[in-house]
């Protein structure tokens, strides 16, 4: 499928192709959005390039995907916005199930802090150099990552404590 890119996005894709030739895996479009997939070891270089050189100054969201495949199971998507040219770009990175570790984007956008904590909480993807990688929603002693496909809908019975219903006897 041929790409239909605006001038600004075309310039960004050209700059990425020139600068990170062997780190850019694919560029595609879906549902009106433009996606680029990059090598996991170059994520910070490419993201800071996009911020500093291409004016993608606003990190809208970071989210995870469980592809449930045997290789490169987890995907992390950075949804970034160019406020000067009004463009949106999705940057995808895939990581292995065995050691799902990425470098944290907090050094590029501070707002990645809570987004990455959510991805860690829900998928168990670790972010290196994150200033405060704790669970953001679930209790700190919770042992599972609920948005992984193998996690049952109703959770693991007894994995989260209910309150003591006989307080007089404690």
């Amino acid at each position: 499928m041929s790409l239909v890119l605006s001038d600004s996005l075309q310039a960004t894709v050209n700059a990425l192709t020139d600068t990170f030739t062997d780190k850019l895996i694919e560029v595609y479009q879906s549902s009106g959005d433009t996606f680029i997939r990059i090598e996991a070891d170059a994520n910070i270089e490419i993201l800071s390039f996009l911020k500093k050189e291409q004016h993608y100054v606003y990190l809208t969201d970071v989210f995870g995907i469980d592809r449930y495949t045997s290789d490169e199971r987890f995907e992390v998507v950075y949804n970034i916005t160019n406020l000067r040219d009004r463009e949106r770009l999705m940057v995808k990175v895939r990581v292995e199930e065995e050691n799902p570790t990425l470098r944290s984007a907090t050094e590029v956008w501070s707002s990645a802090n809570w987004h990455e904590r959510e991805v860690y909480d829900m998928f168990g993807v670790y972010f290196e150099n994150h200033p405060d990688l704790r669970r953001i929603y679930l209790p700190q002693d919770f042992e599972y990552h609920p948005l992984r496909k193998e996690f049952p809908l109703l959770g693991i019975p007894g994995s989260i404590d209910l309150p003591n219903t006989t307080p007089d006897t404690e």
């Binding site: 209790p139 996690f151 049952p152 809908l153 959770g155 693991i156 989260i160 209910l162 309150p163 219903t165």
Partner: protein, 160 residues
């Protein structure tokens, strides 16, 4: 207008249980636990149109120490359940509990790992109200059921 004008020179006999139950059942002050959209219907239940003041329950107390019935209106997460139970434990006896709506009764559409599948997992519920959310009339009905329940209790005699 007082009871003296009705009695005149006469007197009235009753049982202490009946008197206590009559007083309790007509002053059931709610502890509002509005957790989601049911909380809006609970406000309508207290407001002028449905007017729970007719049943003596218009005094929504935001202090558990002053309330008699906890209305759990909405879905309770595992994290919130500890706060709800703590407030319930702070309410003085005798106390009652209404599970308002599908979520508080069974978990409702929130069939997932984070939501307690019915507040009866950690609270002794007296009345369940169906609906998503229930109409304020349904909550009034639950309150009247609780009043009926209070009127059949034998608390004072049992204490003696």
């Amino acid at each position: 207008m007082g009871i003296e004008s009705a009695l005149g020179e006469g007197y009235l006999t009753t049982k202490i249980d009946v008197l206590a139950n009559w007083a309790r059942s007509n002053a059931v002050w709610p502890m509002p636990m509005g957790l989601a959209c049911c909380g809006i219907e609970m406000m309508a239940f207290a407001g002028p149109k449905y007017d729970v003041a007719r049943f003596g329950s218009e005094a929504f107390r935001f202090s558990p120490r002053q309330s008699d019935v906890m209305i759990v209106a909405g879905w309770a997460t595992y994290k919130m359940s500890h706060a709800i139970r703590r407030i319930w434990d702070q309410m003085p006896d005798p106390k009652w509990c209404i599970a308002m709506g599908a979520c508080a009764s069974t978990g409702g559409m929130h069939r997932c790992y984070g939501v307690v599948q019915g507040v009866d997992n950690f609270l002794p519920v007296d009345a369940y109200v169906s609906g998503c959310p229930p109409r304020p009339d349904a909550v009034l009905h639950a309150l009247m059921k609780i009043q009926d329940k209070i009127k059949t209790e034998h608390s004072v005699l049992l204490d003696a």
